[in-house]
C-alpha cells in the first residue's frame, strides 16, 4: 500500500503510521534498525529503495528516504508511506524536501521524529556522499555510515576523501564488493604449505577504488611489498598474485565474471566471481553495526602500496581447463 501525504509535516507522517498500524493491523513491530537513505530526488530513488527492501528481508528495518528536491522552490515537504507488498519486510517513508527543506540540517530534523526508538541508525548515500560523512547532519545521527565511491561522479576523488576522512563507523561499498575475493585468497592460504607471502601484485582498471583498497588490505596484513598496476584490459579488479617460496597463488578474473585460481602443484580451478549487486552488498553491510576496523586499516594501507606504471597484460580468459 502506498499513501501519499503532499505538503505535510513529520508529525502528520507519524500520526498516519500509527493509524495504518491500527487499521491494517499488519505492520510488524520487530524492526532491528532504521536505515536512512540520503539521495537527490530523481530516478535513482527507486533503485535504492528496491535494494533496501531486498535487504530488509534479512534485516527488518524502517527505511527513511531523504530525497532532496529543488532548492530554488518554496519550502515544502511531500511525504509518502509504503507498507505491505510495496515495502518488502520494511516500511518505507519517502520524504521529499524542497526549498530550504532540501538542506542537510533541515533534512536531519525531518528524520529525527521518525527514527525507531532505541534501534541503531544506519545512513546510506547510494550516490554522491558528503566529503566527511561523519560530520554530515544525517551522518551525525547514525552509528554506521555507508557510502559508495564507485557511484560518485568522480570515484577516485571520492575514494581520496574516504581515505582522508575515515572515522570508525564509516564503510564504503567498494570494500563490500571485495569480500568474495578476500575470502578466496584467505582460504587459499588456509591450506598447506603454510608459507609466508614474500610479495604481492594487484592489477586492475586504472580507475578502480576496489583494486586500490585490496592492495591496501594486503599491504597491511602481509607485511610484504605490494604493487598495484593498471590492467591492459578487463573491468574493475582483474588479478591478484601472492608470491610464496613454493610458487605464486594467483586469482585472475579477466572478464568480470569468472575467476581462475592457480596454485603450484594443483590444477587451475575456475570460480564464479561476478561483481556483486548493490542489494547483496547492502545486506552484508547491515549484518554488522559495529565499526569495521579491518576496513579502516586497509584504507590506511593504501599509502604503503607501490604504484606500477606499465599496464599489465591479463592472461587470456581460461577456456574451461
Amino acid at each position: 500500500m502506498i499513501v501519499d501525504l503532499p505538503s505535510s509535516t513529520t508529525s502528520a507522517v507519524n500520526r498516519k503510521l500509527v493509524e495504518l498500524r491500527e487499521s491494517g493491523g499488519v505492520l510488524a513491530l520487530g524492526r532491528v534498525l532504521t536505515l536512512v537513505i540520503v539521495t537527490d530526488d530523481g530516478g535513482s530513488i527507486e533503485g535504492a529503495i528496491e535494494a533496501a527492501n531486498s535487504a530488509s528481508r534479512e534485516h527488518p528495518c524502517r527505511v527513511i528516504v531523504l530525497a532532496r528536491g529543488q532548492r530554488r522552490a518554496a519550502p515544502r515537504l511531500d511525504a509518502q508511506i509504503r507498507v505491505g507488498g510495496d515495502a518488502g519486510a520494511s516500511e518505507v517513508i519517502v520524504l521529499r524536501g524542497y526549498g530550504q527543506l532540501a538542506d542537510d540540517e533541515a533534512g536531519a530534523a525531518m528524520v529525527i521524529p521518525l527514527l525507531l526508538p532505541d534501534a541503531p541508525i544506519v545512513a546510506w548515500w547510494p550516490g554522491e556522499a558528503p566529503a566527511v560523512p561523519s560530520r554530515d547532519a544525517v551522518g551525525l545521527l547514525a552509528q554506521r555510515r555507508i557510502t559508495d565511491a564507485l557511484s560518485a561522479r568522480n570515484p577516485l576523488r571520492a575514494f581520496e576523501q574516504r581515505r582522508a576522512n575515515h572515522v570508525a563507523g564509516d564503510t564504503d561499498l567498494t570494500w563490500t564488493r571485495l569480500t568474495s575475493w578476500r575470502a578466496l585468497l584467505a582460504t587459499a592460504l588456509d591450506a598447506p604449505p603454510h608459507e609466508a607471502v614474500t610479495a604481492a601484485t594487484v592489477v586492475g582498471e586504472a580507475v578502480s577504488p576496489s583494486t586500490d583498497l585490496l592492495a591496501g588490505w594486503l599491504a597491511v596484513r602481509l607485511n610484504a611489498r605490494v604493487k598495484r598496476s593498471p590492467a591492459k584490459s578487463g573491468p574493475g579488479l582483474v588479478s591478484v598474485r601472492l608470491d610464496r617460496p613454493s610458487g605464486p597463488v594467483e586469482l585472475v578474473r579477466p572478464d568480470g565474471r569468472v575467476g581462475t585460481l592457480s596454485q603450484p602443484g594443483q590444477p587451475d580451478r575456475l570460480v564464479a566471481l561476478a561483481r556483486r549487486e548493490v542489494r547483496d552488498c547492502l545486506a552484508e553491510e547491515l549484518r554488522r553495526l559495529d565499526p569495521d576496523e579491518i576496513y579502516g586499516a586497509a584504507l590506511a594501507g593504501v599509502a604503503l602500496v607501490t604504484r606500477g606504471r606499465a599496464p599489465v597484460r591479463t592472461p587470456s580468459p581460461a577456456a574451461g581447463s
Partner: protein, 511 residues
Amino acid sequence: MRTAPWINPLRDPRDKRLPRIAGPCGLVIFGVTGDLSRKKLMPAIYDLANRGLLPPGFALTGFARRDWATQDFGQVVYEAVQQHARTPFRQTVWDRLAEGFRFVPGSFDDDHAFDRLEETVRDLDRVRGTGGNHAFYLSIPPSAFPVVCKQLARSGLSAQSGDQWRRVVIEKPFGHDLASARELNAIVNDVFPEDSVFRIDHYLGKETVQNILAMRFANQLFEPIWNSHYVDHVQITMAEDIGLGGRAGYYDGIGAARDVIQNHLLQLLAFTAMEEPVSFSSAELRTEKVKILNATKLVGPLEETTARGQYAGGWQGGELVCGLTQEEGFDPASTTETFAAITCEVDTRRWAGVPFYLRTGKRLGRRVTEIAVIFKRAPHLPFDATMTEELGQNAFVIRVQPDEGVTMRFGSKVPGSQMEVRDVTMDFGYGTSFTEASPEAYERLILDVLLGEPSLFPVNEEVERSWEILDPVLEDWAARESGPNPYPAGSWGPASSNAMLARTGRSWRRP
C-alpha cells in the same frame, strides 16, 4: 588436527565479513536418486555454491544403481536445483559447479563399482584439485551401511593420510534401540574414527534452534527464571499434518517415538535444559548436552505418563483422508504408533520436579514445532478471584517452525473501569522476514561437514544415551496387549494424551 601453529595473515577475528569457505574437497552421495537427495541435498549444494561458500574445484559424485552417464546425472541435479533451490539460478555459478559432477553406476555389493569410484575420486584430485579430501554422504537405508562401509574400507576410499581427510555423513534412523544403535556405531566406527562421523539431525541446523542458545545465554532477562523455582513444566511438540502414505517401508514397525522423540525432541530438550557451556566450542557444547541427557529420565508409571495413538480416517481440513491401516503398504493390523507422548524429568538442581512433556504425531491439527516453557502462577494475587478468572499461566514459547520466532503470554488488564486481568500474547516474529534470507538447515550442515566443524552433529554418546532414555517406553508398549489408541485425523491426538497431563492437573497447550 593441524599441528604447526600457523596463523593465516589474511584472517583476523575482527574481520567478521570473511566467510569460511571449505578448503579443496569433494562430496560423494550414495543413494543419489532418493527424495532427500533431490529435494534437499542437491539444492543445498547449489545454494552454497551460489553464496560462494564452496571451494573452487568442488566435486560432486553420485553413486546409484542407474544406467546413467555423467550428463544424465547433471540433468537430474539441474532439475532438482531449478525446482528446489532457495537462491536464484545463475548460469555462471551452475557452469562452474557442473564441471565437478561425476556419476558412478553400480550396486553396493559390486566390487568393481567401488573400484571405479575410487578411480573417479583419485582422478578428481588430479583434475579438479580436491586434494584427497572427500566426504561420503550415506543417504541410504541403515541396512545398507555395513556393506557400504566395508566397501569403502576395501577399496581404500576411507583411508586418510597426512593432511587429507575422509568423512562420512549419516542420516537418521541411528538404529531402532540401544543395541542396534551400538551395533551401527560399531560398524561405522570400524571404518571411520568418531571425529570423522557426522550424524545429521537437520533440526540442529535450523536458525531457531541455534537461537535458543543465543536467547538463553546472551540475555539477562530469561536465565534467572529458567529453573524449577519459576517453571512449572515444559512442553515440546513436533506435529505434522501430513499422513504416511508411501512411507510404509520406512515407517511401519518404527513408529513416532523412534522416528522423532529419540532424536529431534530429546535434542531440543537438551538445548532447552542444558547449563551454560564454558564456551561455544563443539567439545564444550557436547559436554553440556551429554550431561543433561545423562540426567534425563522417564517418569513412571509408564501406562499413565506416556500415550500413543494411531490416526484413523476422517475429514481433515476439507480433505477426506484414510487411516494409517488403510494407507498403501501398511499392514491392516499394524500397531505402529503415529502419535507418541512421554514424560521426562531432568534430575539436576535446576530442574528437579519440573516435568518435560514430549509429544509428536502425524495427521495432527497443523504442522508446528515448538518449545513451550510454562511458568508457575504468581504466588499471591492481590486481586479477588473474579478479577483473574481468565488469567492462565505465563508462557514463553519458542516457535521452531513454521513462523519462526518467540511468543510470550502474560496477563494484562482488560480495558474498562473494572480491574479484570486476562491473558495476552506478545509475538516476536524475526522469522517472518528472515526465513527468506536465512539458509536452509542442510546448507549449514553440509558446509559444517566440509569445514570439519562438528558442533551441530550429535556424537554417538548422545545417540546411545537417547536410546537408553527411550527404550523402556518402547519395551513397555511392545509388552502391552492393547495397541495404540485411535484418534481422528486433524485432531491433537488421542484422549490418553490429555489424560496423561490431566493426572497432575495440567493440560496441553494448543500450538
